[in-house]
C-alpha cells in the first residue's frame, strides 16, 4: 500500500463519492477509504439490524419483518427533479445505475393543523382549499412576474432590482398577506426560516422557479426518490469512480493524517499512503471544523400511511415555523415499501428540524401528531460542522455536514464549491467529454 495518489478521499458519504467520481473521470488517481464496513457514512441507508445496532436498541422486533427488506435513510431528503443533483447524475451518466420514483405529493400544514396538498396542477390549484387561504388574484400576478422576469429585459422587472431589494419588499408590492408569504416562502421556495425576507429577492425567485420546473417534469410533485433508498446515491458515484480507476477500501480505521513536505500522509492499519491533497467529511478532521448548530432527526416506522395524505406511498410535509411558533420549519418525509426501503405495509417517516431549544424532541411534537401511531422511533441529535478553512493552503478539503434542508441543493452546492477549491475551476454540468467517449464506445460495441 506504499503508494502515491493524486487524492485520498476519506468517508463514503454522498459528497465525498461525487467528488471522488468527478476526479476519477478527469483522470486523477484516487484512493477512497471509509472507517465503516458499508458505503455512505452519514448518508447511508441501513437495514434493520444495522440501524438497531447504531442506535443501541438491541435486536429488531419480529413484527417489523426481515432486516434485509429495509434501507432506512439516516438523513432524509428528496431530489428536486430539475435540481443540481439530477444535473450531476446526468453529467456523469450515473442515472443508469439507479431507478427512481416520483414522490406522490407535497403537503403543507397551514393554520388549523390539518395538512393540505400543495397544488401540483392547475386543476388542483383551482380546487385546493389551501388557495382559499390567500388572495388568489395577487398570487397569480406575483407568479406571472416570477415566470416572466428576465434579467436582460428591464421591461419585465416592474421597477424592482431583485439583486438588491429584499424579498419582503417584493411580497409587499404584490400585496400578498402573511399567509400567502408563508406558503410561497416555505412550501415553494423551501426556505428553512424567515431570514430570506430581508435578503435580496433574486435567490427566492430562483428557488420558486426551480420548484416550478421540477414540478413540471413529472407533475405529481417536484421530487423524485431512488429505489432502495438514498444510500444508493453514494454507491452509484463510488461505482463511477471505480470504473475510472478509483480504488475503494472499507473497514479502514484512520490512525493518523499528517501534512509533510507538501504532501498528505494517511496511515491506516500501519500502512501509510501519500497524496497531493485530501478530501474528507468533517468526522475525519475534528480539529479542522467548527460546530454551527444542531439538527434533530427522528426516524419513525409506521404501519399506516400518514393520515390525510390520501394514502400516499411517499409524501413530504412542511410545517412552516410560524404555524407552530418556531424559527425554523419542521419537515416530514415519508416513503414506503414501493421504494424498496421497508417491509410490505410499513412506512418510514423521518421528521427533522434545526434544534432551537434544549429539549429537541419536544420540538417535534407538532409533527408526531400528524403521523398517527408510531411503531418504533430512532432519534438522533447531530452537530452541524463546517470547515474552518477552505483547504487551499493545507490541501485538506473538508465538506460540511448534511443540513436540515429537505432536498440536495445545498449538498450539491458544497460539492461544487469543494470542486472549485480543489481544481480552481467551476464544475460545468454538461455531460463530461470522457463520459461521452465511453458512451460512444459502448454504442459502437453494441452495434455488432
Amino acid at each position: 500500500m506504499d503508494e502515491h495518489y493524486d487524492c485520498i478521499v476519506l468517508g463514503t458519504g454522498l459528497k465525498e463519492c461525487i467528488i471522488s467520481g468527478l476526479l476519477s473521470v478527469e483522470g486523477k488517481k484516487v484512493l477512497h477509504m471509509d472507517r465503516n464496513g458499508y458505503y455512505g457514512g452519514e448518508s447511508a441507508s441501513l437495514n434493520l439490524n444495522q440501524i438497531f445496532e447504531k442506535f443501541n436498541m438491541g435486536k429488531p422486533t419480529d413484527n417489523l419483518g426481515s432486516s434485509r427488506d429495509y434501507n432506512i435513510d439516516l438523513i432524509p431528503k428528496f431530489i428536486l427533479s430539475s435540481g443540481l443533483l439530477v444535473k450531476m447524475l446526468l453529467h456523469t451518466d450515473v442515472t443508469r445505475y439507479l431507478d427512481f420514483k416520483v414522490v406522490d405529493g407535497s403537503y403543507v400544514m397551514p393554520k388549523g393543523g390539518k395538512i393540505q396538498k400543495v397544488p401540483a396542477t392547475d386543476t388542483e390549484a383551482a380546487t385546493s382549499s389551501l388557495l382559499g387561504f390567500f388572495e388568489k388574484f395577487s398570487a397569480k400576478k406575483f407568479f406571472v412576474f416570477v415566470q416572466e422576469y428576465d434579467e436582460a429585459k428591464p421591461a419585465t422587472h416592474q421597477g424592482l432590482n431583485l439583486k438588491q431589494v429584499p424579498m419582503r419588499h417584493v411580497f409587499k408590492k404584490f400585496g400578498l398577506n402573511d399567509e400567502s408569504v408563508d406558503f410561497i416562502g416555505h412550501a415553494l421556495a423551501l426556505h428553512l426560516n424567515d431570514d430570506y425576507l430581508e435578503k435580496p429577492a433574486h435567490d427566492t425567485l430562483v428557488r420558486i422557479r426551480l420548484y416550478a420546473e421540477s414540478l413540471a417534469r413529472y407533475q405529481k410533485s417536484p421530487y423524485i426518490y431512488p429505489l432502495y433508498g438514498l444510500g444508493e446515491l453514494p454507491q452509484a458515484f463510488a461505482r463511477l469512480s471505480a470504473i475510472y480507476g478509483g480504488t475503494y477500501m472499507l473497514n479502514k480505521p484512520i490512525e493518523k493524517i499528517a501534512f509533510e513536505d507538501g504532501k498528505v500522509k494517511v496511515t491506516s492499519e500501519g500502512d501509510t499512503v501519500t497524496a497531493d491533497f485530501i478530501v474528507a467529511d468533517p468526522t475525519y478532521f475534528p480539529d479542522k471544523v467548527k460546530k454551527s448548530g444542531r439538527i434533530i432527526r427522528s426516524i419513525c416506522l409506521l404501519s399506516n400511511p400518514i393520515p390525510n395524505s390520501n394514502n400516499a406511498e411517499s409524501v413530504q410535509i412542511i410545517i412552516p415555523q410560524k404555524q407552530v411558533g418556531r424559527k425554523s420549519d419542521i419537515y416530514i418525509g415519508e416513503i414506503s415499501s414501493s421504494h424498496c426501503v421497508c417491509a410490505k405495509n410499513k412506512y418510514i417517516a423521518i421528521v427533522s428540524t434545526t434544534v432551537e431549544t434544549d429539549q429537541p424532541e419536544r420540538e417535534l411534537e407538532p409533527a408526531y401528531k400528524l403521523l398517527g401511531p408510531i411503531d418504533t422511533k430512532f432519534v438522533s441529535v447531530t452537530d452541524f460542522y463546517e470547515p474552518i478553512s477552505d483547504g487551499t493552503s493545507d490541501k485538506a478539503f473538508i465538506s460540511t455536514s448534511y443540513d436540515a434542508t429537505s432536498h440536495f441543493e445545498t449538498t450539491c452546492e458544497d460539492v461544487m464549491d469543494i470542486y472549485k477549491r480543489i481544481t480552481g475551476k467551476d464544475l460545468v454540468l454538461t455531460t463530461h467529454p470522457n463520459i461521452l467517449k465511453q458512451q460512444e464506445e459502448a454504442a459502437a460495441g453494441h452495434q455488432q
Binding site: Y39, A216, Y218, R239, A242, Y248
Partner: protein, 202 residues
Amino acid sequence: MNNNNKIFQFKLVLLGEAAVGKSSLVLRFVRGHFLDYQESTIGAAFLAQTVCLNDTTVKFEIWDTAGQERYHTLAPMYYRGAQAAIVVYDIRSEDSFERAIKWVKELQRQGSPNIVIALAGNKLDLAAKRKVETAEAQQYAEENGLLFMETSAKTAQNVNELFVEIAKKLPKTPTTRPGSGRLPITPIDNNAAKKKTCCNGN
C-alpha cells in the same frame, strides 16, 4: 420494432475473484474480441447485448465489478435487482473456486429470490494447468441449482452458449424488476418548465 418478438431486459452481474476473466468473458460476448493483457479496470463496466431465442429476445444489461471486488468493497447496489449472475472462477485456481462458492452463498442470501446463477470455470484454453476438476464443479452446481459451463474467453468456447442458457432459463414475465418501467431522467434544459418532458413511471 418487431411486434411479434417480445424483448425482455434483464440485469446481469459478474462476480468472482480478481483476474479470473470476468471482463474478458463480457468483452468476448459483447464485442467478440479478446485481449491477452486486459487492464484490470476497464471501460466494460456497463455493456448491453441481446440474445435471440425462438420467440423472444433477451437483452442483457451487463454490470462488471469495476475492480471493486479487489478489496471486497463491492457495493450492495451492484447485485441489487440483478436477475442473473455469472460467478466466474479460474479452472487453474482452487482459491478462485472457493471464492466463487462464497459469492454464490452471498447471492443466495442477499440477491433477488429468483436470481438465475451460472457458474463459469474460465480459462479452459489453459486446461493443461487445471486444478479444479470439471466433475467437482459440476456436482456443486447441480446441488445448488446453478447453470454450469467451462468457458474460454480467449477461444470463445462456450461463451455465447453460456449467455444463451441463461437467457433460456430467465422467466419471461411482464414485470421483470421492481419499479420496472423506469422513470426516464431526461436532460434538463432551460425550457424544461414550459414543455412536458415525459409521463411519470407509474
